[in-house]
Chain length 534, copies 2
Amino acid sequence: MSVYPFKSIFLIVALALYVSETLGLSSPPEINGNLTYLWPLPSEFTHGNDTLSVDPGLLLAVGGIGGNSEILRAAFDRYRGIVFKHSDGLSIFSRLRGRRPAYDINKLKVIVHSDNEEAVYTLLQSMQEMTESRVIGVMATKLRTFGIIFTLLFIYVLCRNQLANTVYGALRGLETFSQLCAFDYGAKSVQVYKAPWYIRDKPRFAYRGLLLDTSRHFLPIDVIKQIIESMSYAKLSCHRLTVCFLFMFPHIDLKLCQSVNVMAEVDIPGHAESWGTGYPDLWPSPSCREPLDVTKNFTFDVVSGILTDMRKIFPFELFHLGGDEVNTGCWSSTPHVKQWLQSRNMTTKEAYQYFVLKAQEIAISKNWTPVNWEETFNAFAGNLNPRTVVHNWLGGGVCPKAVAKGFRCIFSNQGVWYLDHLDVPWDKFYTAEPVEGINDASKQELVLGGEVCMWGETADTSNVQQTIWPRAAAAAERLWTSREAISTGNITLTALPRLLYFRCLLNRRGVQAAPVTNSYARSPPSGPGSCYEQ
Amino acid sequence: MSVYPFKSIFLIVALALYVSETLGLSSPPEINGNLTYLWPLPSEFTHGNDTLSVDPGLLLAVGGIGGNSEILRAAFDRYRGIVFKHSDGLSIFSRLRGRRPAYDINKLKVIVHSDNEEAVYTLLQSMQEMTESRVIGVMATKLRTFGIIFTLLFIYVLCRNQLANTVYGALRGLETFSQLCAFDYGAKSVQVYKAPWYIRDKPRFAYRGLLLDTSRHFLPIDVIKQIIESMSYAKLSCHRLTVCFLFMFPHIDLKLCQSVNVMAEVDIPGHAESWGTGYPDLWPSPSCREPLDVTKNFTFDVVSGILTDMRKIFPFELFHLGGDEVNTGCWSSTPHVKQWLQSRNMTTKEAYQYFVLKAQEIAISKNWTPVNWEETFNAFAGNLNPRTVVHNWLGGGVCPKAVAKGFRCIFSNQGVWYLDHLDVPWDKFYTAEPVEGINDASKQELVLGGEVCMWGETADTSNVQQTIWPRAAAAAERLWTSREAISTGNITLTALPRLLYFRCLLNRRGVQAAPVTNSYARSPPSGPGSCYEQ
């Protein structure tokens, strides 16, 4: 049994009774004799050297006060479908051959210590009070005809602290469990290699985001659902929609919010030209269509109205107010705006600040924590509401400045984490470090995490998923796995084989993840070959 | 009401009571005020100018002796899911606003004249005895509070002849119905514009195929299922798997066969090098790995064994034996093969024929109709089994020669219908004509149809769907719509707007169809914009 660093403050006691070779269950892993590939890597784990078969009729046994969770049962059914995808075809073959196989594992036990399914939506009282915590899953074998054998396969501990223990941690555990399961073509059943497994895991950052731009190209709700589903495979948690609200409104589906938090963005006062299509008064003039008209109460009434409507749909505590790329040039050339500025003795830069701060007040009044792109911090850090989360994008070095002033920060450096930059390879995504340049541990805590950004100028339904994956997964491991456990050194040896495997896993689950090692993202495979090598 | 050519031999009586403007149901189509876009175009239809709303709780009423079909009920549920995708979000909004809308249409009546769900698998006694025939769907409005209003929306007649009237025709009708339904953002409900509709439809060709190469890159079962599902949107019917059988076996799922026929291919004696990995004796020598060893009984025993196993899985009457690109060069340089040829006084070309004919006999003995690539016809047409279906690919002009000799033929001219040829635009796919060069109507009948080919050298899970769609749809209309009704002349005006719309429909249904008008297939959109224009 190989042992990985295991610094648990809890004592984990595991009974492991090895299944004998005579049961015929010792087929080697399909891909590689030495490793079961997990992505993202758990922070701590050990494993053994046994192979166990899993019953396609796997049952879920839930314990703890959160044991009645509908979300958990639905997720279990979903994962059972994923793990036993081949069981239909298999049963046909079994029937043809008259085989009735016996299995080592027929029950998955999950213990959930909180019955609060809503906790994930109130994440940010303190962002550190992680809700994906301390869920323990224990797997035991069935009663065999020749006696009782317990084989402890799998202990999964997600912990951050002892405050919260919700069902969402169990979902992470189910994902890990599903990655331990592999269909074995020899044994013709689902197997877990290298058992027993002891896994103790927790996310390094609470905020592990993917920005999805639904404005440049309309993304149908089916595609958004597919992407959210695939995010959970990589243990991404937060998801941001750039909301083109006129189009998006009829599409909002509350059920989307169950597995990830959805942070909406209303990008003001710039990037809002389209608003004037419905309300031309929001444009300073027909020839000056953005930034929005800062002078009118009507502008802020509309912002407030939109945020009121959106509050009913987005329970997540963060709301993104944009604030980037604001060119105030045409404000000063629009007579009534110019007059308004003069009467208040304001520069256009001050008016930009006035707009952003007023929007922040509106968001806060609706019980939202405002997020703004870094331009607002760069321009008037001293006046930003102290609750503001600064969202980096222009380059490195912003989060260190933001946390030094006490702000929280999200890392999205465009040089490494913009998915629409097709020339940025997986390893650049992988090695990007959100707390780079921040040495003080208490300041590092102010970095909520990071977000990879899928801007949609050249990404639509046809190719958005192959642009997101697999590179978003490289960032996902950076955000999930502890700094001690994440692959370093020659990542071509330590991380790449796992990422190749994870890309194939995404493919098997129907996600259009592109080849990993193409020099250009989302380019086709260069020739025939195995997914595990492309 | 505009009237299209309507040559029905049945009299169709339609009661149409127009819904008054005062009901607030007369919103214009979202995309275009003049047209509802159908793809492929029905062979005959008329429509009116009314707008009807459709109840999200739409019921299915089935009549005829096939009314108890499970397949029909499952398909109805699937299509209801597609048509009312937005109803969740909608109901949230309705609840917020306290609205309880009334609908014009709350029941879909479908009459199926045959209870034979298996008929589709015995298609080829005569390929002309189409099973997708004469299914009539009639839609009527619900009982309104202020009186009884019947609004006949939709008569759908699929006919080829009077021999078969199975549930599969009803599935085609459901697809057409779903394309008539559009979510209206103004009315916030699903609407049918231009009602009432009278549609009489039938497929021009029985064989409307897509080849999926699962050998060059492994395609997971989820992806194959997605592709089969999307084929039904374009009314494609036949589907061919190039079977890499060692990998495919555990994956076969009989349920796949319900909506399309699956023709498997075992491509022998060439393109079978991988067989020797399992059975090295199939290779003439370690340095001569293909064509398969023609001299050994073992070779044909393996072929027979494989075909026996596959017969249990593939109920479709056609089976593809390949026979293409056979380079017999190394046969004559392998001593024992050379000796075998000399002892029988055979040339290598004659040995190739010997192999192909022997494989045909094996397939026929298992109650299969053999399909062979055109090389077999080109090399020894006179000796081919007369039941052979000749599969064109090298260029134009082969089907005319094949049908002249009494063979049936499938059209797949690589210059126009190979999807891996990325420089072939949608309009080349659209204008390709399977019976080109065949004037005699009785000979035209021998062209079963055609097949677009998705060879997988540079297509894997990440991009196969964007390589297939939308160009496969262009061919699908050629294969479905009658020659009288298909768009001709300036197809940029008559077909392109509908194809743009159909591509968006595929996107909405989660299919990664690429932009239509790119000069290169599967390239990304060139910039932001509406799906309806890209």
